[in-house]
Assembly symmetry: C2
Homo-oligomer: 306 residues x 2
C-alpha cells in the first residue's frame, strides 16, 4: 500500500509508540490483598497508590472494617507493601477518618504511628481539597471537604520528578481566581488585597510553576456504571511525580480500575488487586475496551502487537 508521506510518518510513529508500550504489563488479580501480595516479588514496585475502604464505609461491597479494628486490619497489608516496594519507591495512601459519636475517629493517626514503627518514613501529608464535597447540614459541623493523601517511603532517597507535574501559570491563575470568588467576601474586611496583588505580579512572565502540597480537585460523580474512589487526576498526578515510563505501579484496592487505566495512559505497567469479583471483571472489560489483549502465558494484559 502506498501512503502519503504524512500518513507514513503517523503510521511509523504509531508503531513506535506501540513497541514502547509493549513493554508494559497489566495484571488484575482477584482476592484478598493480604494474601495475593505474597505472590509479588520483593523490591519490584515503584509506586503503590491506593484508596482502601475506610472504616465502616462501603459496607455493601467491602464488608466494612470497624474503626477500632482498622489498624490491626491494615498493618499486615502495609508490611507486604513495604516488602514489594523498591527502596526508591513511594506509597501514597488516600484515607480520611469518619465521625463517630460527634468526634473524628483516631484510626488514621494511629495508623501513621504504627507504620512508622514498622519502618516506614512518613515523608509528607498532601491534602486533597474536594471542590464538590458531599452536601448536608448538621448542627455542630460543616461539610467535610478534604481527604488525606499520606506519603510513605522506605528511604529518604526516593525517585521524584517535580518537573513532570508543573502547572501552567495560566491554568493555575484561572482556577485560583475561580476559587477566590467563594472566599473573596470572607476576607472582604481584610486588608490583604495588596498582598495578593503583589504575588500575582510575581507570577507574570512565568510559564510553569511547581504545585504545592494541596491538590484542589473535584470528585467524579457523573453518571457512570462504576464508582471511583478518587478522580483520575489523583493517580495521574502521583504517577507522573513518582514514576518514569515503564515503571510498575501497584494498587491493592483497585476498585473500578482507575489507577490501572491511568497507568496505561501514562505508559506504565500496573498490578491491581481487588476482592470484589464484579470490580475485577469491570477492570478487565475496561482494559479490553482500550485495546489491550490478554496474554494466556503471562496471565496479564498487554498492548496489541502490530
Amino acid at each position: 500500500m502506498a501512503y502519503p508521506i504524512k500518513s507514513i510518518n503517523a503510521y511509523n510513529r504509531a508503531i513506535m509508540l506501540d513497541n514502547e508500550r509493549k513493554k508494559n504489563k497489566y495484571a488484575v488479580l482477584l482476592g484478598d490483598s493480604k494474601s495475593i501480595l505474597q505472590n509479588i516479588s520483593s523490591d519490584s514496585v515503584d509506586l503503590v497508590i491506593t484508596s482502601p475502604p475506610y472504616s465502616d464505609q462501603r459496607k455493601q461491597t467491602y464488608g466494612g472494617i470497624k474503626a477500632e479494628e482498622y489498624v490491626d486490619w491494615f498493618m499486615p497489608i502495609a508490611s507486604e507493601l513495604q516488602r514489594v516496594l523498591k527502596p526508591t519507591g513511594t506509597f501514597i495512601l488516600n484515607i480520611k477518618e469518619k465521625v463517630i459519636n460527634g468526634e473524628r475517629s483516631t484510626y488514621v493517626i494511629e495508623l501513621i504511628l504504627e507504620m512508622r514503627k514498622q519502618g516506614w518514613l512518613w515523608t509528607e501529608e498532601f491534602i486533597w481539597n474536594k471542590k464538590n464535597c458531599y452536601p448536608g447540614k448538621w448542627p455542630n459541623r460543616f461539610r467535610d471537604s478534604w481527604e488525606r493523601l499520606l506519603q510513605f517511603n522506605k528511604s529518604r532517597h526516593f525517585y521524584m520528578d517535580q518537573d513532570a507535574v508543573k502547572v501552567p501559570i495560566g491554568d493555575w491563575a484561572k482556577t485560583r481566581l475561580s476559587n477566590l470568588s467563594d472566599t473573596d467576601r470572607i476576607r472582604d474586611n481584610a486588608k490583604n488585597n495588596s498582598g495578593f496583588g503583589k504575588n500575582v505580579s510575581n507570577w507574570i512572565g512565568r510559564e510553569m510553576v511547581y504545585p504545592t502540597n494541596v491538590l484542589t480537585l473535584a470528585t467524579e460523580c457523573y453518571n457512570k456504571n462504576h464508582s471511583a474512589a478518587f478522580p483520575q487526576d489523583i493517580p495521574e498526578w502521583f504517577i507522573k511525580l513518582f514514576t518514569k515510563e515503564h515503571d510498575t505501579i501497584l494498587d491493592p484496592f483497585l476498585g473500578s480500575g482507575t489507577t490501572m487505566l491511568v497507568a496505561e495512559k501514562l505508559n506504565r505497567s500496573c498490578i491491581g488487586i481487588d476482592i470484589v469479583p464484579e470490580y475485577v471483571e469491570m477492570t478487565k472489560e475496561r482494559l479490553s475496551d482500550i485495546g489491550l489483549i490478554y496474554n494466556e502465558e503471562e496471565g496479564c494484559y498487554e498492548p496489541v502487537i502490530y
Copy 2:
C-alpha cells in the same frame, strides 16, 4: 450645643454602641501560660484560639521546644485550658508539624491522642489552605501550603452559630436555577438509597451557603517585625462561629495581639498571655491606639466611657 436631628441620632447611636462595648474587658498578661492560666477562673472562657510556637520554630523569641519534648511541654497548658473553658466552649489549635530528617514529625498527632486521654473531644480538623504560601523549592518535597486547625471540645453540646460565617453561593447557581424542570420542584430522592434527596426549588433566591471545613485564606503579616502567627481572618472566622457578643476569648500565646484586636472589633472580651515582654507591650500599644483605656482597679483595658 444644638445638633441637627441627624447628628443627634448619630451621636446617640455612638453612645449606645460604646455602652454596649463597655461590657468588654481586655487583659494582656505577661508570663508563662502554664502558671498565668492558674489565675483564670474555671468555666469562664467561651473560646480558646491560639497558634503556639511550633517545635523548634521562632527560637529567638520562645527558646524553641524540641519535637520530642513538645507533647510533654503542651499537656499541662492543655489541662489548664480545659479547666478555664466553659462546658459549651471550644478550643481551636492552629498547628503544623515541621519536617525533621526528611520526615513529617509526629508530635502533633501524638498531641491529639494525649489530649483525648486528658478528656478532650477531638471534634474536627479544619484545614487552613494558605493561598500565598512561603516560596521555595526542595528536591524531595513541594511547598507546604496548609496548616491544621484542630477543634477540641469539653462536650458534644458546644455553642456554634453557623449562620455567622455563611459564604456566597457558587457561580453554578446562577445558570442552574434560571430554569427549573418538574423534578426540580419536588423532592427528588437519590437512587443509591443514601437517603439523600433534593428539592432544587428550595434554593431559589438563596445567596449564601454554609462553608466547608477547608478555609482558603491568604497569609497576612500585621508587621514584619512581629510574628503574627495567623492572619486576622482565622480568629475572626472562629470567633464569629463559636462565640456571641460579650463572650470571652482566650489566647495563651498572644504574640502581636491579632486575636485580641479581632475580639475587640467583634465586640467580645479577650484575655491574652505572652511570655515575651515586647509582644505584651506591643499589644497594649495597639489597644491604646484603637482608643481603649487602662483601668487601674480592674487591671485591664476597657472601651472609653462617654
